[in-house]
């Protein structure tokens, strides 16, 4: 029992620190935040903070792990039942996730350049993501909801395009001078569906219209 307590406390402190760091990264940009700021925000001394995280890099790595874990969860859900309605909820949840970790999606390029370890992991992760999406599209072509792709287009190209759009949408909106807190999932959704829509077959169109008509059906 006595051994458990400090461990539990350490966990909560760690969580507190990563929350504080996340807040600061999102608001002031990843490069502008220093350990001192994080310590102030979390209400700790720098020394105490250094006990948990030696560098800013360690915090980023932890946050990155969180992002990946969430993304993997979302995609696995999508893989189990690959209908349109599931893609829709995947898009919605991805939006919420991106909003929570917005610093990562707006500063991706900078983070990748500075952290070789994350870069390596992220490459693998994106490859995995592409494969998941490919499987999803293949399934939907097979069940007749999407048209098959005609050269020079291919499923692979489409998946890359889809992920490119997903990951750079937030950066684009920031560039347009919009605030992250005011972004709406509706816009994100219409942007991604807008890209998929030209490939709907008649059955796909029907399914899509039905989904719009009964938005909460099956979302559970």
């Amino acid at each position: 029992m006595s051994k458990n307590r400090p461990l539990k406390e350490a966990l909560t402190t760690k969580a507190k620190i990563s929350e504080a760091a996340l807040f600061l990264f999102n608001h002031f940009g990843f490069v502008n935040v220093r350990l001192q700021h994080i310590a102030d925000e979390a209400g700790l001394s720098v020394g105490n903070l250094a006990y948990h995280f030696k560098t800013k890099d360690e915090i980023v790595e932890l946050l990155y792990e969180e992002i990946i874990a969430r993304q993997k969860n979302l995609l696995t859900d999508l893989r189990m039942i690959p209908l349109f309605i599931n893609l829709n909820s995947y898009i919605d949840n991805t939006f919420l996730m991106q909003k929570r970790y917005s610093f990562f999606f707006t500063d991706t390029l900078e983070i990748m350049r500075a952290h070789a370890a994350i870069r390596k992991k992220h490459r693998e992760h994106i490859q995995w993501q592409t494969i998941q999406l490919k499987i999803y599209i293949q399934f939907n072509i097979a069940r007749g909801a999407l048209h098959s792709f005609e050269l020079p287009d291919s499923i692979e190209n489409f998946s890359n395009r889809f992920i490119l759009l997903t990951d750079s949408w937030m950066g684009y909106k920031i560039l347009q001078g919009e605030k992250i807190s005011e972004l709406e999932s509706q816009e994100f959704r219409s942007s991604l569906w807008g890209m998929t829509a030209p490939n709907f077959s008649q059955a796909g169109k029907n399914e899509f219209m039905q989904m719009l008509a009964y938005p909460y059906d099956g979302l559970g």
Binding site: V31, E110, R113, H122, R123, E150, D153, Y172, S190
Partner: protein, 205 residues
């Protein structure tokens, strides 16, 4: 007379692309452009002056791209512009990460960058409208459809290279172009499709 300056600028852009603006020192730039630091300092007094010169040239190039609009009426016109975008963005990769790095939204080059991107978007929208009027693209099925398409094309033009680079995916001019034409393809009407097959598809293989 300007050869040395151009040599320095090219060397700086190469180094900025690889290491980011902050971590490049004048010594490295001097080594890369094969001259002494003293000689370099004669042309550009400080790193700030040099960075400014690099930015200035980048914006000149950027604005030059906008002139390639409807020089000819067919789809190849857009294809030519995409090629130029490719050359521009692959040569100035460092650029984007600088803009997404921090909220330095008051810096003069940031404002210029915003201005350029706004122009880019406007041009894309306007080009789509032109294609619709020329019956190459189908008329809008839902309102705002081509607005979304313009945004998607914009994102592909800007982010394709840095993101491919980031995830270690091989890219070249062909894959860059393919990515954009594939976005447009589903919207072609019969006329546009025919023109696309005759003019563009041969370029993509």
């Amino acid at each position: 007379m300007y050869n040395t300056k151009i040599k320095i600028l090219n060397a700086s852009v190469r180094l900025f692309n690889e290491n980011g603006i902050d971590s490049v020192r004048l010594q490295q730039i001097a080594d890369e452009s094969e001259m002494s630091v003293g000689n370099l300092a004669y042309h550009y007094k400080s790193k700030d002056v040099l960075i400014e010169a690099v930015y200035e040239r980048v914006f000149d190039e950027f604005n030059e791209i906008f002139r390639h609009y409807l020089k000819r009426p067919d789809l190849a016109d857009f294809d030519i512009q995409i090629s130029i975008y490719y050359t521009f963005f692959s040569r100035n990769r460092f650029y984007l990460s600088e803009f997404f790095k921090a909220n330095n939204s008051t810096a003069p080059h940031y404002l210029q960058w915003q201005d350029c991107t706004a122009k880019m978007l406007l041009q894309l929208r306007s080009r789509l409208q032109f294609m619709v009027r020329k019956n190459e693209l189908l008329p809008e099925k839902e309102p705002g459809q081509y607005e979304l398409l313009a945004e998607q094309i914009w994102m592909s033009l800007v982010f394709f290279i840095p993101k491919s680079n980031m995830i270690g995916q091989h890219y070249d001019e062909i894959s860059y172009k393919k990515n954009i034409w594939n976005l447009l393809r589903p919207y072609f009407g019969p006329d546009g499709l025919e023109e696309f097959r005759a003019l563009i598809v041969p370029v993509l293989f």
